[in-house]
């Protein structure tokens, strides 16, 4: 069982994850071949691109977005996403596994640092859950699938935290941790979690999607 979930199933998860991202990328470029003229830009155009005035206008324009309307949520989301990517990549135990398997590894945080990052992520996840339950306007557009997606995202970290601290049945928790990570990788490109890719594509390349960049592509 352990050999299967650590071996073939892990390969399947990575192939589906990266293959899915490439598929979505190709589909995006195929569906957005049309170009459109950009009529409106939130950026100041009157002065030089990097002038103080231009930067000030850009900053003010940001305040009209969610950064200005919900600053706490913005900070919370930013912290959550940083932890989401940084923690598993720079985790010592993961890098040791890489080293043992392929002889390669990258720099890692100390185990106590990643422990703190995991707790921060879990707290953010819990606040997202409470927000979905108690904030009326968020609850109104929340389906059971949103709770499932939040659970799929948080599960690898919760089980990883429990495995690291060796709570309950260590072996069962660690198996659950590996499986949870694999499930997240497999579903990521095909569900709402795909925003890890689509956020950048839509917001920088599509002109009509409140582009941060000079996107001129159109559906």
């Amino acid at each position: 069982m352990f050999d299967f979930i650590r071996g073939p199933l892990l390969w399947v998860a990575f192939i589906v994850f990266f293959g899915g991202l490439v598929f979505q990328l190709l589909q995006f470029f195929t569906l957005t071949r049309k170009k459109e003229r950009l009529f409106l830009s939130v950026h100041g155009k009157t002065k030089g691109r990097w002038s103080i005035e231009s930067m000030r206008q850009w900053f003010e324009s940001l305040l009209t977005t969610i950064i200005g309307t919900h600053p706490m949520m913005t900070i919370l989301t930013l912290i959550f996403h940083c932890c989401l990517f940084v923690t598993p990549i720079f985790l010592l135990a993961h890098n040791i596994l890489l080293d043992e398997s392929w002889g390669i590894s990258i720099w890692s945080f100390s185990e106590s640092t990643t422990d703190i990052l995991t707790v921060v992520l879990l707290v953010c996840g819990a606040l997202f859950l409470l927000r979905r339950i108690f904030v009326r306007r968020v609850r109104a557009i929340t389906t059971a699938f949103d709770y499932l997606i939040l659970f799929i995202t948080v599960a690898p970290f919760l089980s990883g935290y429990m495995a690291y601290h060796q709570w309950f049945h260590y072996k069962a928790i660690l198996f659950a941790h590996i499986l949870a990570g694999e499930v997240m990788l497999i579903v990521a490109p095909f569900t709402k979690l795909g925003h890890m890719l689509f956020f950048f594509l839509y917001r920088f390349l599509i002109g009509s999607e409140y582009s941060f960049g000079q996107g001129t592509r159109s559906w």
Partner: protein, 131 residues
Amino acid sequence: MKGKCITVVLGGVIAAMMISILSAQPEKITLENVEAYKKKQRPPVHFPHEVHMAGDLACTDCHHRYENGKNILDESELEEGTPNIQCRACHTTQSRVNLRRAFHRQCIGCHRREKRGPRLCGECHMRTPPK
């Protein structure tokens, strides 16, 4: 008669040597290596030495000193407290096969090949030491 006596005496000497060597081996060894690791990332490993000795392993299956690809370690050197036989004597934190890799490859590698023994991090690095 003389030959028989020599055989008995030699046998006794060899048996005494074996007993002295085996009795010098600790049952459990705590692999902590505080000199090598200033800041520990995981709890130390409580290595059940006697479990490995009771099996079909020869001492030199684990203990080694390689020269030209051949393990030249003399088993008589394997006595508790001999600094040269400690893994960290050769596998320092700076060596290519550093101390961490040496332990992981030696232990997990064998457990994987033999399909028995712990292979998960927390099965060796236990937060609650085994009784």
